[in-house]
């Protein structure tokens, strides 16, 4: 048997004649890089509070408008000190997390056992990932993700950073990617508009505003899902929950919405 997958299912030469290779001239067409994301994840949200950061993302991997994968974990823990939340292409996410896993193994060998603390803070990890993304965009072969990196900076202060496929980076007390930057970010900014305000908020307040925003997103984001992951990063470590459900939803408003789609009355 021919083990090359290229040969499988091909018309047999002894029946159909040899294949015309000018058809498949590999030099005539351009190198293909990711030109669009295929399986995608929607918004990621993150807020700072006085002793840490809360981050959330739902567990859906969409294939266009098709809710293809319903149990995709889009929050990834790094060395029990940081969490990275991914939106955008899921396969690129898997590539990056595989890479980060490798990095964390190398790092754990490098740091002595006496000093258990990770050398790479979330701020360092954010810089690392943004350089990785910027390098790939400069090769015109982007990693199609927008991610939030949360944890602590080198001064042990809560840190929330964003990095996207162009290598654009910024930090803020609250951040949201994708449609969350339209729907959730205004709500998050009423929770904490500045670092000073964020330093007065408790963990419970932070979790509550994130839950509210996930609910708002589920009401209006057509690429969202009811089950989501929520992680709290504090100085004690990462508290990751991967199958949270939205609570106390009310769809009473839904039958009052008029004027969309095929509805005529």
């Amino acid at each position: 048997m021919d083990h090359r997958p290229q040969a499988w299912g091909r018309p047999r030469d002894d029946v159909y004649g040899a294949y015309d290779h000018s058809f498949m001239n590999t030099n005539s067409h351009p190198n293909q890089h990711t030109q669009q994301p295929l399986v995608t994840g929607t918004s990621v949200l993150a807020v700072k509070y006085k002793d840490g950061v809360v981050i959330a993302a739902d567990n859906l991997g969409s294939y266009g408008s098709f809710a293809r994968f319903t149990d995709v974990k889009r929050l990834h823990t790094f060395q029990d000190t940081s969490v990275v939340g991914f939106s955008g292409d899921i396969s690129d996410m898997q590539y990056i997390t595989r890479h980060l896993h490798q990095k964390s193994i190398e790092e754990s060998y490098a740091s002595s056992s006496a000093n258990k603390k990770s050398r790479l803070s979330a701020a360092n990890l954010h810089t690392y990932l943004s350089k990785m993304l910027y390098r790939r965009r400069s090769k015109m072969d982007p990693l199609w993700n927008h991610m939030l990196v949360v944890g602590f900076d080198d001064d042990e202060k809560p840190f929330v950073g964003s990095a996207d496929l162009l290598g654009t980076t910024f930090t803020a007390p609250t951040l949201a990617t994708g449609i969350g930057s339209m729907l959730a970010q205004p709500l998050l900014r009423t929770y904490a508009g500045t670092d000073e305000e964020a330093a007065e908020r408790t963990k419970e307040e932070a979790i509550k505003v994130i839950q509210e925003c996930m609910k708002v997103l589920f009401y209006r984001d057509a690429r969202s899902q009811e089950t989501y992951s929520l992680a709290v990063v504090s100085r004690e470590g990462v508290e990751m929950k991967t199958s949270e459900k939205l609570e106390n939803m009310s769809w009473a408003f839904a039958d009052r919405i008029k004027g969309y789609g095929t509805q005529t009355v």
């Binding site: 021919d2 090359r4 290229q6 293909q32 982007p142 654009t168 980076t169």
Partner: protein, 264 residues
């Protein structure tokens, strides 16, 4: 799908009979539609005085109509001997595509640090200005999409401002506005720093007219001009606002001032 395998094409063996490289409606290959650039808004301003130089920029970071961050500075210290840049003598401001701006800043800073290591002295603004031009021109065909400005004190102790286009053309100037609100701020500077179209009253008509004499401005006056320029820009440009970051460069080093701007 065939593209998956075509990375290691079997030149004389069987392969898929079709090519699924994406094509346009005209049947031509659709090449990269990925756009590697974006615009992150914001505005910068630099004014040179007799023995000082002020580099200023707002701290708003935008994408389209969204505000990403209210505190994303775009004026940086360059070429200090340590990571907090406390002994730097040169400031760089970058406006436009922020990712390119950061890459440019990192590259210039590295160059200045290597210079300091090799020569045992900090780089002069004149030398740094030339090097920045070279760095920008090196990427002539995939440019850093930024309006860069460099400020410092020259060898004679005078304030120096250098401004650049994205591909490295540069010029030393008395003042320059860059970025989203450049077209709003620059005319104001022409009038208030360079005294353009201002003449001595009663000095005559036509060619007899004498221009109002230009003189280097004092630091309080320059600071006021910078604040007024940004207050004006914030009022009329949506991508400018939040905070005003000012770096005042004197022979004693760089002093950083952060002031609030309107957040609407």
């Amino acid at each position: 799908m065939s593209a998956m395998f075509s990375q290691n094409p079997v030149m004389n063996g069987p392969n898929y009979s079709f090519s699924d490289a994406p094509r346009t409606n005209n049947g031509e290959f659709r090449e990269h539609r990925f756009n590697p650039y974006s615009d992150n808004g914001g505005s910068t301003l630099a004014i040179a005085g007799a023995d000082f130089c002020i580099m200023a920029g707002d701290t708003r970071h935008t994408s389209g109509y969204s505000i990403n961050s209210r505190m994303a500075p775009k004026v940086f210290r360059i070429g200090g001997s340590n990571s907090d840049q406390s002994d730097a003598t040169i400031a760089l401001s970058v406006c436009g595509f922020a990712a390119d701006g950061n890459a440019l800043r990192d590259q210039l800073d590295t160059v200045c640090k290597i210079y300091r290591y090799r020569h045992g002295k900090p780089m002069s603004v004149h030398a740094c200005a030339k090097r920045l031009s070279t760095i920008l021109y090196n990427k002539r065909f995939f440019p850093y999409y930024t309006h860069a400005m460099l400020g410092g004190i020259d060898e004679e102790g005078k304030g120096a401002v250098y401004s650049y286009d994205p591909v490295g053309s540069y010029e030393r100037e008395q003042c320059r506005a860059g970025g989203a609100a450049a077209s709003l701020i620059m005319p104001f500077l022409d009038s208030n720093v360079n005294f353009k179209n201002q003449y001595v009253p009663g000095s005559g008509v036509g060619h007899e007219l004498k221009e109002r004499e230009r003189h280097p401005l004092s630091r309080p006056v320059v600071e006021t001009i910078v604040k007024d320029a940004f207050d004006g820009a914030v009022e009329r440009h949506i991508e400018v606002g939040d905070n005003l970051q000012m770096m005042v460069i004197t022979k004693d080093g760089i002093e950083e001032i952060m002031l609030p701007l309107k957040k609407d």
